[in-house]
Amino acid sequence: MMQWQSLDAFLSMGGYGFYVWLSFGLTAVCMAVELVLLYARQNTLDDGEQT
């Protein structure tokens, strides 16, 4: 079942593309940044362990 006629139609989201993609994008970015920061924090803790 494919409801999008084209890639353009998918990206434009019936004219609401800006709002829809910014919502999903911002959510993804926030979660990714949190993970990266946590991995970095964990690594610095592990580094300290070895010295």
Partner: protein, 252 residues
């Protein structure tokens, strides 16, 4: 086989367990997110009233649910911590706060991004939006309170009391759409239409919510490890400082 659960309430034994569990929860979160996104964009049909803009709910509603749920879990850990004087419980509450704040922020921003095209405004001071904004301040307040106190025992107790008392805001948020005449729509989002449509939308929301849930557990486990390590360091550092102090006193 009997597992001694009590054993895991010690930070030292929980530390490696959390490290082993975290990647699994994050992996499950990733898989659920892929399925959830597929449903959100390719299975769930266009809403006849809101067009494609309604798809924002697939991140907005799970984020808003998590923002409230995490605060209740924090209050729960705080209660356990205060009742049993369990250090790890306080640490769990502390580890959850930043993620809760992030989901609150996301719920507010994605709600705003939905409100602009649908209501014609980014923000209104109605009960639902205002109480959710207060929740963000409560998360920030909890983190500030926790980090403001030098003595971790006092900080834990103060943070726990704060979380317990302010958790009253969560039911206020949840029921705000019933108690007050708000612009924000009620709990059921156009689910009264054709059943197939309602099911796909509801399923998308639930799968995304489960993804966020697994993500939160994974991230909280990672952060609680950092908190455990940080506190261990601090304790060692204090011990060393005390030894140096005592040594210098002996010299004098």
């Amino acid at each position: 086989m009997r597992i001694n659960w009590y054993r895991f309430s010690s930070p030292q034994t929980f530390y490696p367990l959390a490290g082993r569990l975290a990647p699994w929860f994050l992996g499950v979160a990733g898989l659920l997110a892929v399925v959830g996104l597929y449903i959100s964009f390719f299975v769930a049909p266009t809403d006849f009233q809101q067009g494609e803009a309604y798809r924002i709910i697939f991140v907005h509603v799970p984020a808003a649910w998590m923002s409230m749920f995490i605060y209740l879990v924090m209050a729960g850990w705080s209660a356990v911590g205060l009742a049993l004087n369990a250090r790890l419980s306080f640490m769990m509450a502390q580890a959850l706060a930043p993620t809760g704040a992030m989901f609150t922020f996301l719920a507010l921003v994605t709600g705003s991004l939905w409100g602009k095209p649908m209501w014609g405004t980014w923000w209104v001071w109605d009960a639902r939006l205002t109480s959710e904004l207060i929740l963000l301040f409560l998360y920030i307040g909890h983190m500030a309170l926790q980090s403001a106190m030098e003595d971790t025992r006092r900080a834990d107790r103060a943070g726990a009391m704060f979380a317990l008392v302010s958790a009253i805001n969560v039911p206020i948020i949840y029921f705000s759409v019933k108690w007050w005449n708000t612009l924000h729509q009620g709990a059921s989002i156009s689910l009264t239409k054709a059943p197939a449509m309602a099911h796909a939308m509801l399923l998308g929301m639930l799968v995304m919510a489960l993804a966020f849930w697994a993500y939160t557990i994974g991230v909280a486990l990672m952060r609680v490890r950092c908190v455990i390590k940080d506190r261990e360091r601090e304790a060692e550092w204090i011990d060393e400082a005390r030894e140096i102090d005592e040594a210098s006193e002996v010299e004098q």
